[in-house]
Symmetry: C2
Subunit: 263 residues, 2 copies
């Protein structure tokens, strides 16, 4: 039921001080149609510029970064320290981060950003049901990570660790069990079929976060007993573009050591 999109481009126009907007839209869709119909390809135009605003940690920005790394999309990153958040919050569409700037237009919500970049990167299956399986895994990972991330709201350290231990023993164990079944049935494949999707990248990120030791109360051994998940994590970590991403100089923080193969 959707025809044009130009009317929406001004919804979140970014302040020019934060980067110049490009007027030319990605020819990606046009090229795909041209290829499918055998028509002449659209004339070459400027590819969109993608600019991600987030903290330096993996958190809710890592899947977007990985989609770009795997798909060969050029991603400009603004990684700002926590004390600069008020400055960026003022321009964040929904007062949250990450947010993405695409040719001068802002896009909020990590799930929307991740899926958009995944589509641009060729990491969303063309088949509707297969895409749904990738979405299913992606959203299961939200259920895996959210209770852990929520513990950051607990100010007292002892209480926070206690809360995390309860998450690990309860909901986390349950959700990881579902993920284990999903991945075990996929065999040597991925969560939505034989090819890597953004659902796998989110699972890889969730599992690596869990074993990173970044959150006191979540032991590095939390994946023991989930052999299919460990194998899946290693399989994704070994994808050449993923491996190269964690060899980059700006990804050498302590936490991201857990994102490497056999971490």
């Amino acid at each position: 039921m959707c025809k044009s999109f130009s009317a929406q481009r001004s919804l979140h126009a970014s302040p020019s001080a934060l980067g110049g907007a490009r007027a030319v839209r990605s020819p990606r869709g046009a090229r795909q149609v041209a290829a499918a119909t055998g028509q002449a390809a659209a004339p070459p135009t400027t590819m969109p510029s993608y600019k991600l605003y987030y903290f330096p940690l993996p958190g809710r920005g890592e899947v977007a970064r990985l989609c770009c790394a795997v798909g060969g999309l050029e991603l400009e990153e603004v990684r700002f320290p926590f004390d600069q958040w008020p400055k960026y919050k003022a321009i964040a569409p929904f007062g949250q981060c990450p947010f993405l700037e695409v040719d001068g237009t802002f896009l909020a919500q990590s799930a929307a950003i991740d899926r958009y970049l995944a589509a641009e990167a060729g990491l969303v299956p063309k088949d509707a049901f297969q895409a749904a399986l990738a979405d299913q895994a992606y959203n299961l990972c939200i259920d895996i990570l959210t209770p852990l991330f929520d513990t950051f709201k607990v100010k007292d350290e002892a209480e926070r660790i206690k809360a995390r231990e309860a998450v690990v023993a309860g909901p986390l164990k349950e959700k990881l069990g579902y993920a284990e079944t999903l991945v075990a049935k996929a065999g040597d494949g991925f969560v939505a079929g034989p090819e890597l999707t953004y659902g796998d990248l989110h699972l890889f990120h969730a599992l690596s976060t869990i074993i990173s030791g970044w959150m006191d109360g979540v032991p590095k051994t939390a994946l023991d007993g989930f052999p299919a998940l460990q194998a899946h994590r290693n399989r994704v970590a070994s994808v050449p573009q993923v491996k190269a991403f964690y060899e980059r100089e700006d990804n050498q923080d302590d936490m991201r050591q857990a994102y490497k193969p056999n971490a």
Copy 2:
């Protein structure tokens, strides 16, 4: 990066006692390719059967139902009372509902179900960025509803109402403010352009839930001061297929009275 999907069809095969699996896959994708390339259309085959398992209330099942109603997809529903949940939890892929059965295969996660059915119903924009805007609105609605739904965990009634009042005055007001800005800028259009998308259906559902009086502590007047949201809600409620959905005999519960135009 995705080629085939047949290997994944057995991931969540449903027990035969709950409904026979159909062996024939939707020809939708094949037909679209055929149309785009000018090839002869695929021979007619059985369309997929969609079966949604959820409680009778709107909750996390309503967007899926609305996508089917608006897109003219036949949706079989298993609306079961709360006391039957243990029976269905045993077959739910991730121990959660709603879940969807597609030709005998289960799909979990409401966000994956909604987007899948929206795609089948033609309610996901073809343009990648416009689809991202629909996703952005869809996910903002998760942020709007989740803190309210979370209050059901508070067992003491007085405490629960107090928790909801805090949500209404704080995060809900903030999130509705972002939604108001989004919709106001869209003018007479919708959240991702001139055409209705599943992002609009989620927003309609979230706003209707809020004014339903279903949750003690959330006043029916909670949308006062958000004129663009009220207009958007009425616009979606007035879409003929939406209107017809709420005229159906099985949708005459008290809560759904708030889903009608000018409710």
